[in-house]
């Protein structure tokens, strides 16, 4: 899951550096030509510094989101209602770990190291998707996350499969292939409760939908007119579809799916707009979004604390494994 267009970093100045030499001007010209021609950029190809930085930021944020995203769902593994649901949830959480690893590797091709990225996460310098700073209060939240949060993630991620940076695009293709299961299992879990459940279970589903709707809608990032870096990312083929366009597609799809499920979406202003060919929706509370991104969501400290603890507690394992490997290598040399 879970990239998010946040446009929080990347000040204009690192993009506006003066080109230094005629050689660099020529390289830049060839790079632009390839982008315009729809070609892919590979790890060792020349690329502008700002392109590299933008990608490192986006891909590492995306990777962090996958890893932090394991926490809210991991919370329910031991409490899944049946063995079947437990096996499904385990598989899904394991997928998120895999997705994080694909993405860290993709970012590393740009010359950053795994430890640098993790350090940025643990020190609070790097961001991750705002959605994981909300709590998972009931079992229905597992279904709602699958249906709504993974649904939003898929909408976001499919266009990135055509990203101009090939290692990222390849990682996204692999991820999208696995992601569809995530959304479907969530919808099916909710549908089971809505069709065969008690009134209390149905109420639980509706409550989960009510709580996850707005945070899911926010996953597409700020409105286009407040996304100063979007235009450059579009120009470079890193971003293919704008935040508002993706959000509109998501809402249109969700409205239909909610009908099948038999739940309502908590926005009285939702209404089909024939002229726009999209649903109109009520105002989004962007102050909440910025608050959560900025570190003051309901679970920010808990999430980051859990990551840092896992990393610190695992330090002796990482060191021991490396010491063992070095020792084995020494024996081999001596033999």
């Amino acid at each position: 899951m879970y990239t998010q267009a946040m446009d929080t970093a990347g000040k204009a100045d690192d993009g506006q550096k003066k080109l230094r030499s005629t050689e660099e001007v020529e390289l830049q010209r060839r790079f632009d030509e390839r982008i315009d021609d729809g070609q892919f950029i590979e790890a060792k190809d020349w690329m502008p510094d700002h392109y590299r930085k933008t990608l490192v930021r986006q891909i590492s944020q995306h990777a962090h989101s996958e890893i932090v995203g394991m926490l809210p769902e991991g919370n329910w593994i031991t409490r899944a209602p049946t063995l079947k649901r437990k096996a499904i949830l385990l598989a899904k959480v394991q997928d998120e770990a895999g997705h994080g690893l694909y993405l860290y590797s993709a970012a590393e091709t740009l010359g950053t190291s795994r430890d640098e990225m993790l350090d940025a996460l643990h020190s609070g310098k790097a961001k991750y998707s705002s959605i994981f700073n909300y709590p998972t209060l009931t079992w229905a939240d597992m279904g709602a996350i699958g249906w709504m949060v993974d649904g939003a993630a898929i909408m976001n991620q499919v266009p990135i499969c055509r990203c101009s940076y090939a290692p990222y695009a390849r990682a996204m293709i692999r991820i999208c292939r696995e992601e569809s299961f995530h959304q479907r299992q969530g919808f099916e879990a909710l549908l089971t409760m809505m069709q065969n459940g008690t009134q209390a279970q149905k109420d639980m589903v509706q409550d989960a939908v009510n709580r996850w709707w707005w945070p899911s809608v926010m996953m597409f990032g700020p409105p286009d007119d407040q996304s100063p870096n979007s235009a450059q990312s579009m120009r470079w083929g890193i971003k293919r579809v704008s935040n508002d366009e993706l959000r509109a597609r998501y809402i249109d799809a969700a409205v239909e799916q909610a009908k099948v499920l038999g739940v309502t979406l908590p926005d009285p202003a939702l209404k089909w707009n024939e002229a726009r060919q999209h649903h109109d929706h009520g105002p989004i509370d962007w102050s909440e979004f910025w608050r959560v991104i900025g570190g003051d969501g309901p679970c920010n400290r808990e999430r980051l604390g859990a990551r840092v603890k896992a990393w610190d507690d695992g330090a002796w394992v990482r060191e021991a494994a490396l010491a063992h490997a070095n020792k084995q290598a020494t024996y081999k040399e001596a033999a």
């Binding site: 050689e23 390289l27 590979e42 790890a43 060792k44 190809d45 020349w46 598989a91 394991q94 997928d95 895999g98 690893l101 694909y102 993405l103 860290y104 590797s105 993709a106 590393e108 091709t109 010359g111 190291s113 795994r114 430890d115 640098e116 350090d119 090939a166 290692p167 390849r170 990682a171 692999r174 696995e178 990482r318 060191e319 494994a321 490396l322 063992h324 490997a325 084995q328």
Partner: protein, 127 residues
């Protein structure tokens, strides 16, 4: 992930540190503040018997055994493979993207290397 030359070239800028540029290329030391990062491995998966191993991504592991184990977990969760190879990323020698035209373009105008270049009478065209 996935670029098979991913970590071969740490700082890809023109004329500097290109992989495959003679024997002077020194593998980058394990990165990270304390120099304790596990080395990077490239992963190749054979999707079914009879087919080639194909590059599918990379991962960090302390030693070969762990690399194989992690490759199984990270890249074959859905029966994507029947066999995996891993190789240290710093052991891969790759061609230089700057040499792409010089290396590969000369094959472009040698159409006579393809069977379709030869027009034969219908009676023997299945040849």
């Amino acid at each position: 992930m996935t670029d098979h030359d991913s970590k071969v070239d740490e700082t890809p800028s023109p004329g500097q540190g290109r992989a495959g540029e003679g024997t002077s290329h020194v593998p980058p030391p394990a990165a990270g503040a304390a120099g304790t990062e596990w080395p990077l491995w490239e992963v190749f998966v054979r999707s079914k018997s009879g087919l080639d191993h194909k590059h599918c991504g990379s991962l960090h592991a302390a030693d070969p055994k762990m690399a194989i184990q992690l490759a199984r977990d990270v890249y074959t969760r859905r029966q994507e493979g029947t066999s995996v190879w891993v190789v240290r990323s710093d052991q891969i020698v790759a061609s230089d993207p700057g040499d792409k035209a010089m290396y590969f373009d000369p094959a472009e105008d040698k159409v006579y290397r393809h069977p379709t270049f030869y027009q034969l009478p219908g009676a023997v065209d299945h040849m």
